[in-house]
Subunit: 265 residues, 2 copies
């Protein structure tokens, strides 16, 4: 049976609100996802919240199903006010439901490259919105997951989860240092494809092979020279205007669609 929380001072409200900060997510091994659409994606992918906060009076068959399955799985459902949902989420128009989930393990060794033809690798990607958008694109292009190299934004941040629109739960996520990633990559099959302003090869020119690992660099600096040197294929997206680069999530999507379009033919 759901219990009810209506007091701002309830320690659980403070604890869950604290999950908006990385240090608390790390310490507790938990993260926050918002909204019926994302929580339903999670449920369909086999992930149920430990805690489900929902607005008193909210009615939706998918919400009922979520609460029933979450409680059957040992989770707790908490009916609350929209003011408290606002306090937890920090948003003016909070979603009707928030879920607290156990963070996933992110070891590179958990990635089975044979499970997909395409994997996305991001290096020092700093913007959580870009990270989430790349997860969402990864799902759309049938990628297996996202490997985060060097110091990236936290994939479990509220912004990244939101921008992923649920793809955080359907894409595998790994974190690794560059040397560890390269050692792992070279221990098996795989073509490492980097996008770079320094390449003279148009991104439509190569014939991409599977499994493909698409490497995208930091938003401001792009890929370091030694990382580019490690790539099997370096390509550039044509830039017809004044600017010399695209948004990182856009560049990833444009290249990923070219790769899968070749395979679709």
């Amino acid at each position: 049976m759901p219990r009810e929380i209506t007091a701002f001072s309830n320690p659980l409200v403070k604890q869950v609100r604290g999950l908006r900060e990385k240090k608390n997510r790390r310490a507790e091994g938990l993260f926050l996802a918002e909204g019926l659409r994302i929580l339903t994606e999670a449920r369909e992918a086999g992930f149920l919240p430990e805690l489900t906060f929902y607005a008193s009076g909210a009615a939706h068959p998918l919400l009922d199903q979520l609460i029933a399955e979450a409680e059957a799985g040992g989770g707790e459902a908490i009916e609350t006010t929209s003011d408290i949902l606002h306090k937890i989420s920090g948003k003016d128009n909070p979603q009707i439901v928030l879920g607290v989930y156990k963070a996933f393990p992110t070891d590179l060794d958990l990635i089975d490259r044979g499970k997909a033809d395409l994997w996305i690798v991001a290096q020092a990607l700093r913007d959580p919105g870009n990270l989430g958008t790349i997860l969402r694109t990864g799902d759309a292009v049938g990628a297996g997951g996202l490997i985060l190299v060097d110091d990236c934004a936290d994939p479990f941040s509220v912004e990244a989860v939101r921008a992923s629109m649920g793809a955080l739960f359907t894409q595998k996520i790994a974190m690794a240092s560059w040397p560890d990633f390269i050692a792992w990559l070279r221990a098996g099959e795989g073509e490492l494809i980097g996008t770079s302003l320094n390449s003279s090869q148009d991104y439509q020119q190569p014939r991409y092979r599977t499994p493909a690992f698409l490497l995208v660099g930091n938003e401001a600096q792009g890929l370091p020279a030694e990382y580019e040197a490690e790539c099997d294929t370096l390509v550039k997206i044509p830039m017809l205007g004044k600017a010399d680069s695209l948004n990182a999530a856009v560049a990833t999507a444009v290249t990923a669609y070219e790769i899968i379009n070749q395979w679709r033919r």
Copy 2:
């Protein structure tokens, strides 16, 4: 000669800071752009700031050139502290320079469709980051500009200007109601191409003609049915995963690159 402002209470600081809000931008016909890179893009496109705030001690040849040209053009340069730049921009790590610009006219009649083969049209696009990212992509694909239909985010907002990385100054921008846009469109040449989840036509299937008008819908709802019905061509991007849609700026970029890739062949 630049003057110096070091007092938080200076009315000009308050006025410029106020440009982060839409009602003040509207009332004053001014907007704010941040950072040497974006202000340099603007200068190279022929736009100089009315007011230039720069950090005391900041040294860069492009900053010197910007200040010199802005002053020669009748603008005022103001040397200030990084605390005041922080106060104006609201960012923890403010850029070394901020510019205040006159807003551009956004009448549809100012668009000359013959100037470019591709134009992007956004309908009820609500996220200023998406709007700016679409401007940046528009520049990259050689589009002529962005036509905003219905109630979109403000292209002159700080977030949109920042995400555009300067493309706000190189892309034409127009705002119109849907009936006015359609009347204008049909008064000349042009193929209206909509991206839609309801289409069964793969986005690589049509042969796109010039001038192409690529129409992208609201982030959450997509295009209204009657807007889709008005399109000459409706296409969908393949979605290979669980999710049914892409981020709006990503979908725009993927389709825009397909269009120009056909023309590049």
